[in-house]
Amino acid sequence: MNLLDPQGPVAAANSTILVDSVFIMLVIVVPTIVAILAFAFWFRASNTKARFQPDFVYSGRVEMVVWSIPALTVILLGGVAWIGSHQLDPAAPVPGTGSPVRIQAVSLDWKWLFIYPDQRIATVNTLTVPAGAELNFQLTSSSVMNTFFIPQLGSMIYTMNGMVTRLNLRADNEGKLQGLSAHFSGDGFPDMMFDVNVISPLAFPDWVATTAKSDAVLNEASYKALMQQGIERGRPTYRLEDPRLFDLIATQHIPPGPGPELISAAGRSHSGGHDAR
């Protein structure tokens, strides 16, 4: 999950900006730290060679330099931030080979549901995508806020109930990656990690076909069962009954997921199901 080992163009651009910004700042930070230590050492009271200049308390030239150095750095970095924000807007298209894959991600308490509306399938806690294709994510939440993040593919984004956020990514190399939720969402939060299988574009249709044969069906009823608080250890897959399920969730036609029930009147709340442990 190393941020400096990107597996897609978005993560690569993010980490380039990250590293470049660090180097731009190091150019002034390192000399400043050295100067602090050097001045502190040289002007120690016991050093008789250091010249005591108690009246050196103002210098227009020095003032100009000390305002200019950070200002120039910030102008430079501000440019990086402006251009970077526009180029790497999460909603900006990320061209890829082949047709884009539409994925609708829903954060549940405490698992991830990935709906492939065009393929009419859905998976929980595994995201399978073809290498090289543009991935168009639409994201929402069944209950509380979460953040969808695959570190090696880049750019995280919030998921919120009743709202849809957008994110476009691309995975360039086949392999297994990991994703997670990056916004605390309750007792099962640490178990919201998910697998990302990047497979070859040729194998993707086969995987879709296999998944579509799944016995389990995802419809409003099974979704409501799935959104109860709890942890999913397995990696269930579903046939998708209604490709508009995501819209029903995002527009709150399916009401937000329930929270925990209280174990006592005395207000120590209890996290849904013992599977949270």
């Binding site: 941020l3 900006i17 910004s21 050196f56 402006w82 790497l88 806020m145 750019s155």
Partner: protein, 666 residues
Amino acid sequence: MLGKLDWSAIPFDQPIPLVAGAVVLVAILAVLIWVVVKGHLPYLWDEWITSVDHKRIGVMYILLASVMLLRGGSDAIMMRIQQAVAYQSQGYLPPEHYNQIFSAHGTIMIFFVAMPFVIGLMNLVVPLQLGVRDVAFPTLNSVGFWLTATGALLVNISLVVGEFARTGWLAFPPLSGLSYSPGVGVDYYAWSLQISGVGTLVAGINLVTTVLKLRTRGMNYLRMPMFCWTTLASNLLIVSAFPILTATLAMLLLDRYLGFHFFTNEAGGNVMMFMNLIWAWGHPEVYILVLPAFGIFSEVVSTFSGKALFGYRSMVLATMAICVVSFMVWLHHFFTMGAGPDVNAIFGIASMIIAIPTGVKIYNWLFTMYGGRIRFATPMLWSVGFMVTFIIGGLTGVLVAVPPADFMLHNSMFLVAHFHNVIIGGVLFGAFAGFEYWFPKAFGFRLDERWGKAAFWFTFTGFYVTFMPLYIAGMLGMTRRLQHYDVAAWRPWMIVAAIGMAVLSIGVICQIMQLVVSIRNREALRDRTGDPWDGRSLEWATSSPPPVFNFAFHPDVRGEDAYWDMKTRAQQQSFEHDVPEYQDIEMPRNSPTGFICAFFASIMGFALIWHIWWMVILGGLGAFATFVVFAWRDHDEYVIPAEEVARIDRINLEERRSLVSMAGAV
């Protein structure tokens, strides 16, 4: 009768909070019994609890902060151990307990450690630096302190009665809403912050008024010590930002108590509005904390370099620039909301702009040292340690202000490392520097230097060993608030961080040892001059500890570094003064208003949390009645006769003269 409260509120099944709570309870009872049996109660009541003396209130704030630092530190130790052991296992803390611990850690460290520590130092020092006898509103000052203590008390009660919030220190809805947090944890969080928030607000009003309206003769704005400037900036931020916090939490409470829909998922509630509002307070808050620390470093660096502060006017400008710009950057806490590139870029650049005045401050301290004669007493060590550490924190801070970089680092362990880097390296180092520096002024004896230096080196090293690994873990994709994890690459860094935490703890132990050893050797460490560090500002012009009226005469200020100026003139002329003509001094009377008000506020807060409505009314009426009684008072001042002032002042002058003549004879 007791609302939601019954025996199941006590976590008999969870040994850790139960044992911790029992130990604290026994300790408090033991202290109380000792106080009563030894007959110290009248002294405590007259001299401390009802005191409206800004110095006493400042000391009590710092005491509160120190006690809560131990509590928040214990939480930190538990978290670091949990993350070191919870690899492919549940560790030793179940999620419902771990989540309370990190929420309590953040809440306590910000609201009940950092805030009272800096407010305490400002209370103690600012009136002395301004050359005045008290703050603008002495009784209000006492009310502010005791309400802060009420908040701290409620947070600690949650340890054994009920639960604390499990939502993180900012309690984001909808997780903190009634549907997803039906317990009393969020109520404990919100009510303790509401009550202590009132305390902070009145402290802010008091200090702003003090700086603006009470200055001695000749102390115009551009002659004020830097610490007074940063106090002004910080308290202007308190006055303008804390009402936002109060309003935001009030809306959350309306959602939870009366079925409103400000921040719920349903009925048009808007969770992003909470995000915006809480950070509109939350970002200024970090400058509320760090600006006073900047002021402390300015005083310390200048004093121990034996030079006036370099570029004083530039520093004033930088301080006020930070004060203003800090209000315009809150959105950088949620770039990943999907607001769009223009919004993100503008807030990113605005955030970077704060780095300019901050950078200027660093350079001005640097040039203050240049050409100085630097004495490395403990406060100066903290200051140099701060400069180095804070630059690293600044670098990572500007980094997360670049939106595309933040898209990778938001909410990660990298972010956790960043804000600890600036809060520990900035605020806590500053608080410790101020503590070491002004301790002799408050108590009349210096602190032991050897233990102080040991405390610095262990804390400094411990900080790096704890938090540098967290930067790396963040670069490895690790997010914050994980109760357990399965990623092998993160494990080694969590273990190193836990070791660092042990080193940090040794630093804290050294700090406590320093206090114990210094109190034992206080006669040897006695500061008879009132000016132990060869200081430059007016707090060193009076005795240590200062008399209740601070100054027998209002000092006459003729330039920057007022006391340095006086010392220089005194050397050039003869040291003999004309025999001064002492006058009666009026001082505010002690008042139990603050304590009684907070007593009723505590009852009311507890009752609100547990829905015990008759008790809410009782507490509310009690607090209001206390206020009315105070408002109807007839006498609020007492007179210290001129002879008494003369007697106290002559002792001080004699001590100083004898020391000066001794030095002259040598």
